[in-house]
Amino acid sequence: MTAAAPRMRRPVPGATRPYHFPRFELRRLSNGVQLVVAPIAKLPLVTIIALIDAGAVCDAQAREGVAQLTAKLLLEGTEASDGAELTERFERLGASVESHADWDVAAVSVTALSQNVREALALLAEVLRSPAFREREVERLKAERNAELLQLQAEPRGLADELFSRFLYAPASRYARPDGGDAESVAAITRDDIERFYRARYQPAAVTIVVAGDLRADRAESLLAETLGDWQGARVQAVTTNDAPARRTRAIHVVAKPDAPQSELRVGHVGIPRTHPDYFAVVVMNAVLGGLFSSRINLNLREAHGYTYGAFSSFDWRRQAGPFAVSTAVRSDVTDASAREILVEIDRMRSERIMQDELSLATSYLDGVFPIRYETTAAIAAALANKVIYGLPDDFFDRYRDRVRAVSAEDVLSAAKTHLQSEALQLVVVGDPAVVRPPLEALQLGPVAVYDALGRPLST
């Protein structure tokens, strides 16, 4: 011992200080464009997200990837400016801009200093209303998607996620294929497909503009009325996809990566939609199972066994049922032991009530961390975007902490019994089949099949 200093006692926390989620206002332009504005004056900064009801679930069969290409192409040129010039117009403002489509929506996000917000909003309106979809840019982004898909074959984490979805969902589900499309579907996409998709989905009534930052609601509304107010269009139909599972019994899918020093492991099944009434119980249950550093799965695999750098579980929230997955990367020779431990933890969640201490850790974390999640305009805008996408009630953020604290150990047990399906678990292992296959077969969890990096069965 070097220090002879006195050791201090554990401190007792002071009194909690009040917090409320930023106030926001909901408005609507006469053409149906919706507005959600949270004025925050702390810094001269504004984040704007344009949400369009044009997510990947809207892709037509055999044209998967159109939604994502369309969203990305918005920033690759308008009628007035080609892609390079458009980029320059944003960046000369110091504005960072990004567009993409996830499963449920397409989104264009801009963060800019408030002194430039008028120009930034005008540019945003231009990309929403008059994208050019030039042939050259369409072909370039298709080629970039192909490069991405090629890279994926050698990238074990992304590959495990992608093939996990493939093995999880029924072939007819949009969720069974990559949100950006696969090589076959992307190759088939033409400029006309993009144009048609844009005309069908990018309509004012399907657009919500979320604003968080140094901009008042009246000013936001008048700026948007200037640029989007005369945009006229048709109604847009809601789209759903089939979210049924591919199988109801366990199966193990080994994706061959010979000589891999580690196995990427995914264990899970089709979960539940974001709007499910059990949402809060499931969030708390997942925090105990694998959502926190101090969760059962991480403490077991990492701290008790040293099998991994980290292991966690998550429910991927979508309008329809996204995947529930336990994700980790483990040393190749303990792949079977890791799979067994994960199954033990899932079964234990379903069979025993959690301890009071575990419950309070999860609920006090989720309650206490709430203000920390919303320090930035980008985080606040993203939260408000979720409110729009899932139709959450206006008081959702104000009631969140109470609802988390109201979850009981009984609720958690019941959520685990209902929403963790031990018998339906699919295991995906990206690893060395020579090392992992025999011990996985010996576990007798279910049939073991081996695939290549494109998901095609390998006969061995």
């Binding site: 011992m1 070097t2 220090a3 200093a5 050791r7 201090m8 554990r10 401190p11 002071g14 909690t16 200080r17 009040p18 702390k42 810094l43 900064l45 892609g83 390079a84 980029t87 960046e91 000369r92 110091g94 504005a95 960072s96 963060t111 200093l113 370039r140 080629a143 490069a147 991405e148 090629l150 890279q151 050698a154 074990p156 984490r157 696969d182 090589a183 076959e184 190759a187 580690q262 550093f293 101090s294 990492r302 701290e303 008790a304 040293g306 099998y307 991994t308 750098y309 483990v330 040393r331 006090s364 974390y365 309650d367 206490g368 961390v369 709430f370 203000p371 320090e375 930035t376 494109l454």
Partner: protein, 442 residues
Amino acid sequence: MQFTSMRIPIETFQLDNGLFVSLSEDHTAPIVAVNLWYHVGSANERVGRTGFAHLFEHMLFQGSADVAANEHFELIQRAGGTLNGSTWLDRTNYFETVPSHQLELVLWLEANRMGFLLPAMTQQKLDTQRDVVKNERRWSMDNQPYGTWWEKLPALCFPANHPFHHSLIGSMDDLSAASLEDVAQFFRTFYTPDNAVLSIAGDFEPKEARALVEKHFGSIARGAGKPPLAEMSMPPVFGQWKREVVPDDVMLPRVFMAFLSAPFGTEEYYAASVCAAVLGSRKGSRLYRALVRDRQIAAEAQAFTYDLSKGSDLLVLDVTARPGIAVELLEHEIALEVDRLVAEGVTADEMERAKKLIQTDFVASMQSAGDRADRLSLFATYFGNPSLMNDQVERYQAVTVERVNAFARQRLREDNRASLVYVPKEGAEGELLGVGAAEEKQ
């Protein structure tokens, strides 16, 4: 609180034992961030113990005299906080953001491990964390395409005896060799209050915070000093074009091109940083426009600086090929863009774009208490003056076209380049279902 003209309030004091403390008040949310930098990183490791600074960082979460293994994590998360630690070439940091009424818990935890770590160290904990770190190495490097660039690029750029040369994550053999005695020695040498800075940002009363810091850290003994680092200084240029080709389990070639650059914080550094933004920040940058958008030979292109404050910094270009593009062509075209910048210089428009992007990023980064506390620690550790963070926007604004061009003429020439080139190893060529992988646009 309003951040007037991007300046945040900063006050500092130093305890008798040498602990340097920065405080920055902001009551907009009931949140407080605590950030502790120890001035030790992989550069301080001895021969045969690569990776030890980082392994040691893991051990700091294994408890201390009054804290059980992993209890640090549990207590902070139970308090509703977030936390982590990270190790870099020249520093190691530990940070928490918590609801503001939990400030004292964080200070107690950090002080307990600064003052009383060793009683909690056991062989079993070391063995487990060694396994965890070996898995971290596999995960981030060995089983990740291009992952080894993290250790190969510094090794290519700095000579063998230079403190930045060797691997930060460490070799498997050196990790295996680390002992409890190494843990004790490293702790006594480097984890002392006079080798640390503490920063607190957010919702607190400065008087109370100061009293709490004195209460918890005040009686921890000062250290006996740390051994000096080996020679850090580097010539301004490599004196040659270095090149290493790495066959890897990858689908597409990728070129890292590094240049010796001015240390972080110098006037030339800001010119280098603007130059890097002109070359490779976002889609309006030269590399993106030329290689991704116009010629379509690259799938991605970016540039960045390491921000090293001693010896030499590195400016790095990072470009991944499109399928079907030979790596020689890609490297040649990158070099042509660099040559063009050296010969013709940057335009005022490009400078304006780069500076505006940097400014927006800076303002955005000031939103989070954790980021503010981290920057305070950075400027306190490297320069003994956290107020320097308030000068950053001005220092970028002061960069002129002439300075960027002078930087380019000296530092971006052929005699100051190091190419680390990843190529698909034999038999790793991919096949893309539905289209030929070698589809190429001219």
